[in-house]
């Protein structure tokens, strides 16, 4: 069995009276991709925001490689190996594609892919000298992934990377993400597209209204009564 990279214990987050996350717990191992699914507003992105330091949880603990993370800041988390992509990528629009990756690579601890390798990996080598603002949406998503990879994260949260891509692009992105699992990295993949997840993860957590309602294999999740009810009409296939 591989080593545990990230573990969440009883994470809760509320905003005023609204409970966005209630006692969410899970762990993910090196070389493993975990799926995080649920309808809109179920707390997926909130969970990423909590783990990546944008919000402080109201309760619960987070452990990175067994060590408890105290109160910290996003940039320290990024350096210590937790990173994410954004549902709506926010590249540094006036910086070049290369600079976008360089700025992150400069803060990496230890080894990792070079800036050129990363740009090739996310297929943006040709656009390296161009301003990031001039990229199209799919390219910006890949750049966002490249920016996250530059810090050589131990665990990477991928927030709806597949949305808006055509089937060929989806397959390419899935392959790209699978190859990231080599070398003991863990992935947590938030996605609506079940076909995409199916190619990538074996285990999923299903969230609804901030609570975990299912934890297990993707196939059995699709057969689960509560999951079906929650997703009625949203899963499609």
């Amino acid at each position: 069995m591989a080593d545990e990279i990230l573990r969440l214990e009883g994470i809760s987050k509320h905003f005023g009276g609204l409970s966005a996350l209630q006692e969410v717990s899970f762990s993910v191992e090196g070389g493993e991709a975990l799926g995080l699914v649920g309808p809109n507003g179920s707390g997926k992105t909130t969970l990423i925001n909590v783990v990546c330091g944008l919000y402080t949880p109201n309760a619960g603990n987070i452990y990175l490689e067994g060590a408890k993370l105290g109160k910290t800041t996003p940039h320290k988390l990024a350096k210590s190996g937790i990173n994410r992509t954004f549902q709506v990528p926010q590249p540094f629009a006036s910086l070049t594609v290369r600079e976008n990756v360089e700025i992150a690579a400069a803060h990496r601890r230890g080894d990792g892919m070079s800036v050129v390798e990363i740009l090739d990996f996310v297929n943006l080598g040709k656009w390296a000298g161009q301003e990031a603002g001039s990229l199209n949406a799919a390219q910006q998503k890949r750049l966002d992934l490249g920016r996250a990879l530059a810090l050589n994260p131990k665990v990477l949260f991928v927030d709806e990377l597949g949305a808006g891509l055509n089937p060929a692009e989806l397959a390419e992105v899935a392959a790209m993400l699978r190859s990231l699992l080599n070398g003991g990295r863990a992935l947590v993949v938030v996605e609506h597209l079940m076909g995409f997840l199916d190619k990538l993860v074996d285990r999923v957590i299903v969230l609804n209204a901030g609570r975990e309602i299912f934890h297990g294999g993707l196939r059995s999740a699709l057969d689960d009564g509560e999951v079906k009810r929650v997703f009625l009409g949203t899963v499609g296939a």
Binding site: G53, Q90, S94, S114
Partner: protein, 329 residues
Amino acid sequence: MLDSKGGGKPLAGLLRRKTLLLDLLAVAIPVIGFSFGLNFYSNELLLVYMMVYVALAHGINISYGFTGYLPFGYFGFFGAGAYGATLAILDLHVPALLGMLFGGVAGVLVGLLLLPLFRLRGAYFAIATLAAGEAVADIVANPSLQSITNGPYGENLASVYSSGQIYVAALVFMALALLAVVLVKNSRFGLSLRAIKESEYSAAMAGVNVVQLRSLAWVIAAAIAGVGGAIFGWATTVFYPSAVFDSAISVFAIVFALFGGTGSVWGPTLGTVLLYGLYSAVGLSSPQYFQLIYGLAIVGLILFAPRGLVGFGRAAVRRLSLRRAGANG
């Protein structure tokens, strides 16, 4: 993972060296120009003021151009610098030149005091600094503090006036401010600041220590304003609180910087020399007409060339080269 060599292609490195060279020229040419300034123009005080404003515009450049925070209350640092230097010279009896550094320290202290304002963004930040600047002014000019600051009656530095020293101090100060901008622009620090300006949280997720770098830029801007105020006070000799805590100082510096174009080394310098030159030609004799022209210039600038002269120039060059590329292709 293969190796961890940096990703600089030779071409990129060459490009970078070329922009660095151009940036250094943007330091050298104004410095040389002002060194011989008195040969062309005999109003020494005006040249000193102009150099101070070049530096101030670059302080705005660092704060707004690179980090996106517009300090409308920039005059608060400026006035604090003027008073810090004056009190050091008159009460602690430090030499006038050293007193200028005290001005910088006073600016930095006010800057540190205002760091909590960074919890605010955009226009809120701008207005809050304006209120803070006015508050500092009100405190310094308060009759209750007459024993320390001489309250509303101002200060007199006639005992340490020295035109030669003042001119050289202003020149060196302007050179240092320009160099600071070149360093910021061509360093990873500057790159990180631009990233913060675009998206704070993304920058943090790229490992950038947002709070630290932003505060550092702020303190540099505050130090520039502090020393600027100190030299301004020294050159003016007798000044009232209302002269050094004047919101017009912020606005001049902001408009000079925006007019020339922020984020560059040439822009704010050009903006200052042109607009302050105009001010000296028209503004001193008929301030209302100047204020009118000035106001119209701001409106026109924001509506028609929000990226300033330098941005305007760049766009023109790009259009030209595109047309040429089109003709060749």
